[in-house]
Amino acid sequence: MIKLKKIKMTLNGRQCEVETAPDRILLDLLREDLGLTGTKKGCEQGECGACTVIMDGQAVLACLIPAAKAEGADIVTVEGLAAEGQLHPLQEAFWSEGAVQCGYCTPGMLLSAKALLDADPAPDVGQIRQAIAGNLCRCTGYTKIISAIQVAAEKIGHE
Protein backbone atom coordinates (compact mmCIF):
# COMPACT_ATOMS: atom_id res chain seq x y z
CA MET A 1 0.00 0.00 0.00
CA ILE A 2 1.64 3.27 -1.08
CA LYS A 3 1.67 5.98 1.55
CA LEU A 4 0.14 9.01 -0.13
CA LYS A 5 1.55 12.47 0.46
CA LYS A 6 -0.54 15.54 1.25
CA ILE A 7 0.67 18.68 -0.46
CA LYS A 8 -0.66 22.15 0.33
CA MET A 9 0.14 25.05 -1.92
CA THR A 10 -1.21 28.29 -3.29
CA LEU A 11 -2.16 27.68 -6.89
CA ASN A 12 -3.18 30.56 -9.14
CA GLY A 13 -4.08 32.60 -6.09
CA ARG A 14 -6.14 29.94 -4.34
CA GLN A 15 -5.28 27.57 -1.50
CA CYS A 16 -5.04 24.06 -2.82
CA GLU A 17 -4.57 20.71 -1.07
CA VAL A 18 -3.85 17.52 -2.93
CA GLU A 19 -3.07 13.95 -1.89
CA THR A 20 -0.84 12.08 -4.30
CA ALA A 21 1.95 9.54 -4.71
CA PRO A 22 5.13 10.60 -2.91
CA ASP A 23 7.17 10.47 -6.14
CA ARG A 24 4.69 12.54 -8.13
CA ILE A 25 6.34 15.18 -10.30
CA LEU A 26 4.83 18.68 -10.22
CA LEU A 27 4.04 18.57 -13.94
CA ASP A 28 1.92 15.44 -13.51
CA LEU A 29 0.32 16.82 -10.36
CA LEU A 30 -0.85 19.83 -12.34
CA ARG A 31 -1.93 18.00 -15.47
CA GLU A 32 -3.29 14.72 -14.08
CA ASP A 33 -4.27 15.30 -10.45
CA LEU A 34 -5.57 18.83 -10.94
CA GLY A 35 -6.64 18.71 -14.58
CA LEU A 36 -4.67 21.83 -15.45
CA THR A 37 -3.38 20.80 -18.85
CA GLY A 38 -2.21 24.27 -19.87
CA THR A 39 1.30 23.39 -18.71
CA LYS A 40 2.74 21.19 -21.44
CA LYS A 41 4.85 18.06 -21.32
CA GLY A 42 7.61 18.46 -23.91
CA CYS A 43 10.91 16.69 -23.32
CA GLU A 44 10.53 15.75 -19.63
CA GLN A 45 14.28 16.37 -19.35
CA GLY A 46 14.47 20.06 -18.55
CA GLU A 47 15.65 20.99 -22.03
CA CYS A 48 12.65 22.57 -23.80
CA GLY A 49 10.87 24.80 -21.29
CA ALA A 50 7.35 23.76 -22.35
CA CYS A 51 6.61 22.83 -18.73
CA THR A 52 7.60 26.24 -17.32
CA VAL A 53 5.54 27.41 -14.35
CA ILE A 54 6.17 30.20 -11.85
CA MET A 55 7.03 29.04 -8.33
CA ASP A 56 7.53 31.67 -5.62
CA GLY A 57 8.01 34.29 -8.32
CA GLN A 58 10.63 32.39 -10.33
CA ALA A 59 10.18 30.60 -13.65
CA VAL A 60 11.01 26.92 -13.10
CA LEU A 61 10.57 23.58 -14.90
CA ALA A 62 7.70 21.49 -13.56
CA CYS A 63 9.04 18.31 -15.19
CA LEU A 64 12.00 18.27 -12.83
CA ILE A 65 10.32 19.30 -9.59
CA PRO A 66 9.10 16.66 -7.13
CA ALA A 67 5.55 17.71 -6.24
CA ALA A 68 6.53 17.51 -2.56
CA LYS A 69 8.93 20.40 -3.15
CA ALA A 70 5.91 22.58 -3.86
CA GLU A 71 4.66 22.27 -0.26
CA GLY A 72 3.88 25.79 0.90
CA ALA A 73 4.82 27.31 -2.44
CA ASP A 74 3.02 29.91 -4.52
CA ILE A 75 2.51 28.44 -7.99
CA VAL A 76 1.24 30.22 -11.08
CA THR A 77 0.36 28.29 -14.22
CA VAL A 78 -0.87 29.65 -17.54
CA GLU A 79 -4.43 29.15 -16.32
CA GLY A 80 -3.71 31.78 -13.69
CA LEU A 81 -2.88 34.55 -16.12
CA ALA A 82 -6.34 35.63 -17.20
CA ALA A 83 -8.24 37.30 -14.36
CA GLU A 84 -12.05 37.39 -14.29
CA GLY A 85 -12.27 36.45 -17.95
CA GLN A 86 -9.91 39.24 -18.99
CA LEU A 87 -6.76 38.18 -20.79
CA HIS A 88 -3.41 39.14 -19.29
CA PRO A 89 -1.61 41.82 -21.36
CA LEU A 90 0.94 39.16 -22.33
CA GLN A 91 -1.79 36.91 -23.70
CA GLU A 92 -3.34 39.80 -25.61
CA ALA A 93 0.02 40.79 -27.04
CA PHE A 94 0.90 37.21 -28.09
CA TRP A 95 -2.43 37.17 -29.94
CA SER A 96 -2.19 40.62 -31.52
CA GLU A 97 1.43 40.15 -32.59
CA GLY A 98 0.88 36.69 -34.10
CA ALA A 99 3.28 35.07 -31.64
CA VAL A 100 1.34 31.80 -31.46
CA GLN A 101 1.53 29.12 -34.16
CA CYS A 102 1.13 25.57 -32.87
CA GLY A 103 0.81 26.98 -29.38
CA TYR A 104 2.80 24.27 -27.64
CA CYS A 105 5.62 26.49 -26.38
CA THR A 106 3.21 29.32 -25.60
CA PRO A 107 2.24 28.62 -21.99
CA GLY A 108 5.93 28.26 -21.05
CA MET A 109 6.83 31.40 -23.01
CA LEU A 110 4.05 33.39 -21.33
CA LEU A 111 5.22 32.40 -17.88
CA SER A 112 8.91 33.04 -18.55
CA ALA A 113 7.83 36.44 -19.87
CA LYS A 114 5.61 37.10 -16.86
CA ALA A 115 8.44 36.22 -14.48
CA LEU A 116 10.65 38.68 -16.37
CA LEU A 117 8.14 41.55 -16.38
CA ASP A 118 7.28 41.03 -12.72
CA ALA A 119 10.96 41.46 -11.86
CA ASP A 120 11.86 44.03 -14.51
CA PRO A 121 8.95 45.96 -16.06
CA ALA A 122 11.05 47.59 -18.79
CA PRO A 123 13.44 45.00 -20.19
CA ASP A 124 15.49 45.59 -23.31
CA VAL A 125 15.57 43.09 -26.17
CA GLY A 126 18.70 41.42 -24.81
CA GLN A 127 17.04 40.82 -21.47
CA ILE A 128 13.92 39.44 -23.14
CA ARG A 129 16.03 37.02 -25.16
CA GLN A 130 17.82 35.92 -22.01
CA ALA A 131 14.55 35.40 -20.18
CA ILE A 132 13.17 33.08 -22.85
CA ALA A 133 16.50 31.35 -23.53
CA GLY A 134 15.15 28.27 -21.78
CA ASN A 135 11.99 28.05 -23.92
CA LEU A 136 12.34 26.39 -27.31
CA CYS A 137 9.97 27.23 -30.18
CA ARG A 138 10.01 25.23 -33.40
CA CYS A 139 7.45 27.34 -35.26
CA THR A 140 7.82 31.06 -34.95
CA GLY A 141 11.52 31.87 -35.11
CA TYR A 142 11.03 33.83 -31.86
CA THR A 143 10.82 37.34 -33.41
CA LYS A 144 7.07 37.75 -32.87
CA ILE A 145 7.32 36.30 -29.39
CA ILE A 146 9.92 38.94 -28.54
CA SER A 147 7.77 41.71 -30.08
CA ALA A 148 4.76 40.47 -28.12
CA ILE A 149 6.69 40.69 -24.87
CA GLN A 150 7.81 44.21 -25.73
CA VAL A 151 4.24 45.22 -26.55
CA ALA A 152 2.99 43.71 -23.29
CA ALA A 153 5.71 45.46 -21.28
CA GLU A 154 4.72 48.75 -22.84
CA LYS A 155 1.02 48.15 -22.12
CA ILE A 156 1.66 47.12 -18.50
CA GLY A 157 3.92 50.13 -18.08
CA HIS A 158 1.05 52.44 -19.00
CA GLU A 159 -1.47 50.84 -16.68
Binding site: P22, L64, G134
Partner: protein
Amino acid sequence: MNWRDYERPRSISEALNLLEQAEGRGRVIAGGTDLVLQLRQKRYQADLLVDITGIEALQHIEEREGWIQIGAAVTHAEVAHHDLIGNEARALARGCSQVGSPQIRQMATLVGNIISAQPAADGAIPLMALEAEIQVAAIAGERWLPLPDAYRGLGLSTVDAKAEIATAVRFKKLGEHGLTGFFRLARRKALALPTLNGAVALCRDASGCRLQRARISLGPVAEHPFRPQQAEVYLESHDISWEVILEAARIASEEANPRTSLLRGSEEYRKAMIRLYLSRTLGEMLAIP
Protein backbone atom coordinates in the same frame (compact mmCIF):
# COMPACT_ATOMS: atom_id res chain seq x y z
CA MET B 1 8.21 4.04 -7.95
CA ASN B 2 11.07 6.49 -8.21
CA TRP B 3 11.04 7.10 -4.46
CA ARG B 4 8.66 6.34 -1.60
CA ASP B 5 9.19 9.19 0.82
CA TYR B 6 10.16 12.84 0.58
CA GLU B 7 11.24 14.87 3.60
CA ARG B 8 12.29 18.50 3.95
CA PRO B 9 14.22 18.76 7.23
CA ARG B 10 14.82 22.11 8.89
CA SER B 11 18.36 21.42 10.10
CA ILE B 12 21.53 19.64 9.01
CA SER B 13 21.39 17.26 12.00
CA GLU B 14 17.77 16.37 11.20
CA ALA B 15 18.82 15.64 7.61
CA LEU B 16 21.73 13.45 8.72
CA ASN B 17 19.47 11.53 11.10
CA LEU B 18 16.96 10.89 8.33
CA LEU B 19 19.74 9.53 6.14
CA GLU B 20 21.07 7.36 8.96
CA GLN B 21 17.64 5.92 9.68
CA ALA B 22 17.23 5.12 5.99
CA GLU B 23 20.34 2.91 6.20
CA GLY B 24 21.63 3.61 2.71
CA ARG B 25 18.22 3.80 1.06
CA GLY B 26 18.01 7.55 1.43
CA ARG B 27 19.58 10.23 -0.74
CA VAL B 28 20.19 13.99 -0.52
CA ILE B 29 18.35 16.17 -3.03
CA ALA B 30 18.90 19.88 -3.50
CA GLY B 31 17.67 21.51 -6.73
CA GLY B 32 17.04 18.08 -8.24
CA THR B 33 17.68 19.11 -11.84
CA ASP B 34 20.20 16.29 -12.30
CA LEU B 35 18.98 13.87 -9.65
CA VAL B 36 15.31 13.67 -10.68
CA LEU B 37 16.39 12.57 -14.17
CA GLN B 38 18.93 10.11 -12.79
CA LEU B 39 16.31 8.54 -10.53
CA ARG B 40 13.81 8.36 -13.37
CA GLN B 41 16.45 6.67 -15.55
CA LYS B 42 17.22 4.28 -12.66
CA ARG B 43 20.83 5.38 -12.60
CA TYR B 44 20.39 5.79 -8.86
CA GLN B 45 17.81 4.29 -6.56
CA ALA B 46 16.38 5.77 -3.40
CA ASP B 47 13.43 5.08 -1.12
CA LEU B 48 13.73 8.40 0.71
CA LEU B 49 14.73 11.79 -0.65
CA VAL B 50 16.05 14.27 1.89
CA ASP B 51 15.53 17.77 0.51
CA ILE B 52 18.09 20.15 2.03
CA THR B 53 16.88 23.34 0.38
CA GLY B 54 14.69 24.27 3.33
CA ILE B 55 17.62 24.38 5.76
CA GLU B 56 18.34 28.00 6.64
CA ALA B 57 21.96 27.30 7.57
CA LEU B 58 22.61 26.36 3.94
CA GLN B 59 21.24 29.53 2.37
CA HIS B 60 24.11 31.97 2.82
CA ILE B 61 26.52 33.80 0.55
CA GLU B 62 28.91 35.66 2.79
CA GLU B 63 32.43 36.62 3.65
CA ARG B 64 33.92 34.78 6.62
CA GLU B 65 37.42 35.76 7.72
CA GLY B 66 38.85 36.28 4.27
CA TRP B 67 36.94 33.41 2.70
CA ILE B 68 33.82 33.65 0.60
CA GLN B 69 31.41 30.91 1.57
CA ILE B 70 28.30 29.73 -0.27
CA GLY B 71 25.80 27.37 1.29
CA ALA B 72 24.52 24.22 -0.38
CA ALA B 73 20.98 25.52 -0.85
CA VAL B 74 22.12 28.54 -2.88
CA THR B 75 21.08 28.47 -6.54
CA HIS B 76 23.14 29.41 -9.60
CA ALA B 77 20.82 32.38 -10.13
CA GLU B 78 21.52 33.65 -6.62
CA VAL B 79 25.29 33.31 -7.09
CA ALA B 80 25.14 34.97 -10.50
CA HIS B 81 23.34 38.05 -9.16
CA HIS B 82 25.07 38.49 -5.82
CA ASP B 83 27.18 41.65 -5.39
CA LEU B 84 29.83 39.92 -3.29
CA ILE B 85 30.45 37.34 -6.02
CA GLY B 86 30.30 39.96 -8.76
CA ASN B 87 32.95 41.99 -6.96
CA GLU B 88 35.26 39.28 -5.66
CA ALA B 89 34.89 36.36 -8.09
CA ARG B 90 33.34 37.55 -11.30
CA ALA B 91 34.29 34.34 -13.11
CA LEU B 92 32.04 32.42 -10.73
CA ALA B 93 29.12 34.80 -11.35
CA ARG B 94 29.66 34.38 -15.08
CA GLY B 95 29.93 30.60 -14.90
CA CYS B 96 26.78 30.29 -12.82
CA SER B 97 24.92 32.67 -15.16
CA GLN B 98 25.48 30.26 -18.04
CA VAL B 99 24.35 26.98 -16.50
CA GLY B 100 21.52 25.41 -18.50
CA SER B 101 18.74 27.94 -18.79
CA PRO B 102 17.12 30.64 -16.61
CA GLN B 103 14.65 28.11 -15.21
CA ILE B 104 17.37 25.61 -14.35
CA ARG B 105 19.45 28.34 -12.69
CA GLN B 106 16.51 29.14 -10.40
CA MET B 107 16.38 25.58 -9.13
CA ALA B 108 19.85 24.06 -9.43
CA THR B 109 22.46 24.73 -6.75
CA LEU B 110 26.16 25.57 -7.03
CA VAL B 111 27.15 22.83 -4.59
CA GLY B 112 24.97 20.39 -6.53
CA ASN B 113 27.01 21.32 -9.61
CA ILE B 114 30.08 19.98 -7.77
CA ILE B 115 28.34 16.82 -6.56
CA SER B 116 27.14 15.97 -10.08
CA ALA B 117 30.85 15.79 -10.88
CA GLN B 118 30.74 16.69 -14.56
CA PRO B 119 34.01 17.75 -16.25
CA ALA B 120 32.70 21.02 -17.68
CA ALA B 121 30.29 22.05 -14.95
CA ASP B 122 30.03 25.82 -15.32
CA GLY B 123 29.93 26.45 -11.57
CA ALA B 124 32.69 23.99 -10.67
CA ILE B 125 35.10 25.20 -13.38
CA PRO B 126 35.62 28.68 -11.84
CA LEU B 127 35.64 27.14 -8.36
CA MET B 128 38.56 24.94 -9.45
CA ALA B 129 40.56 27.99 -10.55
CA LEU B 130 39.67 29.66 -7.24
CA GLU B 131 41.07 26.60 -5.40
CA ALA B 132 37.80 26.11 -3.55
CA GLU B 133 37.03 23.66 -0.77
CA ILE B 134 33.75 21.96 0.05
CA GLN B 135 32.41 21.22 3.52
CA VAL B 136 30.98 17.76 4.05
CA ALA B 137 28.81 16.92 7.03
CA ALA B 138 28.35 13.37 8.30
CA ILE B 139 27.12 11.86 11.57
CA ALA B 140 30.78 11.47 12.59
CA GLY B 141 31.48 15.17 12.07
CA GLU B 142 32.36 17.80 9.47
CA ARG B 143 35.38 18.16 7.21
CA TRP B 144 36.66 20.50 4.52
CA LEU B 145 37.77 18.88 1.27
CA PRO B 146 39.88 20.54 -1.43
CA LEU B 147 37.73 20.61 -4.55
CA PRO B 148 39.83 18.12 -6.59
CA ASP B 149 39.23 15.56 -3.80
CA ALA B 150 35.48 15.75 -4.43
CA TYR B 151 35.87 13.89 -7.71
CA ARG B 152 36.07 10.10 -7.90
CA GLY B 153 35.55 9.68 -11.65
CA LEU B 154 33.33 10.88 -14.46
CA GLY B 155 30.04 11.89 -12.89
CA LEU B 156 31.08 10.35 -9.58
CA SER B 157 31.54 12.31 -6.37
CA THR B 158 33.54 11.20 -3.35
CA VAL B 159 30.68 12.61 -1.26
CA ASP B 160 28.30 9.76 -0.44
CA ALA B 161 24.88 11.28 -0.98
CA LYS B 162 23.29 8.39 0.89
CA ALA B 163 25.00 9.27 4.17
CA GLU B 164 26.72 12.65 3.87
CA ILE B 165 25.72 16.18 2.99
CA ALA B 166 27.92 18.69 1.20
CA THR B 167 26.91 21.79 3.13
CA ALA B 168 28.99 24.62 1.65
CA VAL B 169 31.74 25.64 -0.71
CA ARG B 170 34.31 28.33 0.05
CA PHE B 171 37.33 29.99 -1.53
CA LYS B 172 39.82 32.60 -0.37
CA LYS B 173 39.32 36.16 -1.54
CA LEU B 174 41.94 37.03 -4.14
CA GLY B 175 42.64 40.46 -2.73
CA GLU B 176 43.19 43.75 -4.46
CA HIS B 177 45.63 42.42 -7.04
CA GLY B 178 43.32 39.54 -7.94
CA LEU B 179 41.53 39.07 -11.27
CA THR B 180 39.25 36.36 -12.61
CA GLY B 181 38.03 35.41 -16.06
CA PHE B 182 35.67 32.83 -17.54
CA PHE B 183 35.08 31.59 -21.07
CA ARG B 184 32.68 29.20 -22.71
CA LEU B 185 32.23 27.85 -26.23
CA ALA B 186 29.08 25.92 -27.10
CA ARG B 187 26.89 25.19 -30.10
CA ARG B 188 24.05 27.31 -28.73
CA LYS B 189 23.86 30.19 -26.29
CA ALA B 190 21.69 28.29 -23.81
CA LEU B 191 20.66 24.72 -23.04
CA ALA B 192 23.91 23.44 -24.53
CA LEU B 193 26.77 21.59 -22.90
CA PRO B 194 30.07 23.36 -23.57
CA THR B 195 32.50 22.34 -26.28
CA LEU B 196 35.02 24.14 -24.12
CA ASN B 197 34.89 26.16 -20.95
CA GLY B 198 37.50 27.52 -18.60
CA ALA B 199 38.32 29.94 -15.85
CA VAL B 200 41.38 31.89 -14.83
CA ALA B 201 42.28 33.35 -11.43
CA LEU B 202 45.33 35.59 -11.26
CA CYS B 203 47.14 37.60 -8.63
CA ARG B 204 49.53 40.23 -9.92
CA ASP B 205 52.59 41.05 -7.86
CA ALA B 206 53.22 44.55 -6.55
CA SER B 207 55.18 45.60 -9.64
CA GLY B 208 52.37 44.54 -11.96
CA CYS B 209 54.85 42.90 -14.35
CA ARG B 210 54.61 39.40 -13.00
CA LEU B 211 51.97 37.06 -11.73
CA GLN B 212 52.39 35.98 -8.16
CA ARG B 213 49.74 33.34 -8.74
CA ALA B 214 48.10 31.92 -11.83
CA ARG B 215 45.40 29.30 -11.73
CA ILE B 216 43.62 27.93 -14.78
CA SER B 217 40.84 25.40 -15.10
CA LEU B 218 39.59 23.80 -18.31
CA GLY B 219 36.71 21.53 -19.30
CA PRO B 220 35.67 19.14 -20.72
CA VAL B 221 39.16 17.80 -21.25
CA ALA B 222 39.37 15.18 -18.49
CA GLU B 223 37.03 13.27 -16.18
CA HIS B 224 36.76 16.33 -13.95
CA PRO B 225 37.62 20.07 -14.18
CA PHE B 226 41.26 20.11 -15.18
CA ARG B 227 44.12 22.35 -14.05
CA PRO B 228 47.00 22.67 -16.54
CA GLN B 229 49.64 23.14 -13.90
CA GLN B 230 52.64 23.39 -16.23
CA ALA B 231 50.96 26.35 -17.92
CA GLU B 232 50.33 27.90 -14.51
CA VAL B 233 53.98 27.55 -13.49
CA TYR B 234 55.08 28.99 -16.82
CA LEU B 235 52.90 32.09 -16.32
CA GLU B 236 54.19 32.59 -12.79
CA SER B 237 57.84 32.42 -13.85
CA HIS B 238 57.84 34.92 -16.72
CA ASP B 239 57.16 38.63 -17.04
CA ILE B 240 53.76 39.26 -18.57
CA SER B 241 53.70 39.76 -22.34
CA TRP B 242 51.70 38.57 -25.34
CA GLU B 243 54.41 36.05 -26.17
CA VAL B 244 54.25 34.59 -22.68
CA ILE B 245 50.46 34.43 -22.78
CA LEU B 246 50.45 32.67 -26.14
CA GLU B 247 53.07 30.19 -25.00
CA ALA B 248 51.17 29.50 -21.76
CA ALA B 249 48.01 28.87 -23.76
CA ARG B 250 49.91 26.48 -26.05
CA ILE B 251 51.32 24.60 -23.06
CA ALA B 252 47.83 24.37 -21.56
CA SER B 253 46.38 22.96 -24.78
CA GLU B 254 49.04 20.25 -24.88
CA GLU B 255 48.64 19.44 -21.20
CA ALA B 256 44.86 19.23 -21.47
CA ASN B 257 45.24 16.86 -24.38
CA PRO B 258 41.61 16.81 -25.56
CA ARG B 259 40.84 13.87 -27.80
CA THR B 260 38.60 13.77 -30.84
CA SER B 261 34.98 13.38 -29.74
CA LEU B 262 31.77 13.15 -31.73
CA LEU B 263 30.12 15.31 -29.10
CA ARG B 264 32.79 17.93 -28.41
CA GLY B 265 34.79 18.19 -31.65
CA SER B 266 38.10 17.09 -33.10
CA GLU B 267 41.36 17.09 -31.19
CA GLU B 268 42.85 19.76 -33.47
CA TYR B 269 39.85 22.05 -33.12
CA ARG B 270 39.65 21.68 -29.35
CA LYS B 271 43.37 22.37 -28.89
CA ALA B 272 43.12 25.41 -31.15
CA MET B 273 40.13 26.68 -29.17
CA ILE B 274 41.94 26.22 -25.87
CA ARG B 275 44.83 28.32 -27.23
CA LEU B 276 42.44 30.95 -28.60
CA TYR B 277 40.09 31.30 -25.64
CA LEU B 278 42.74 31.06 -22.97
CA SER B 279 45.07 33.60 -24.59
CA ARG B 280 42.17 35.94 -25.34
CA THR B 281 40.93 35.73 -21.75
CA LEU B 282 44.40 36.27 -20.28
CA GLY B 283 44.98 39.17 -22.66
CA GLU B 284 41.72 40.83 -21.67
CA MET B 285 42.29 40.28 -17.97
CA LEU B 286 45.81 41.66 -18.07
CA ALA B 287 44.84 44.47 -20.47
CA ILE B 288 47.62 43.67 -22.89
CA PRO B 289 47.04 45.97 -25.88
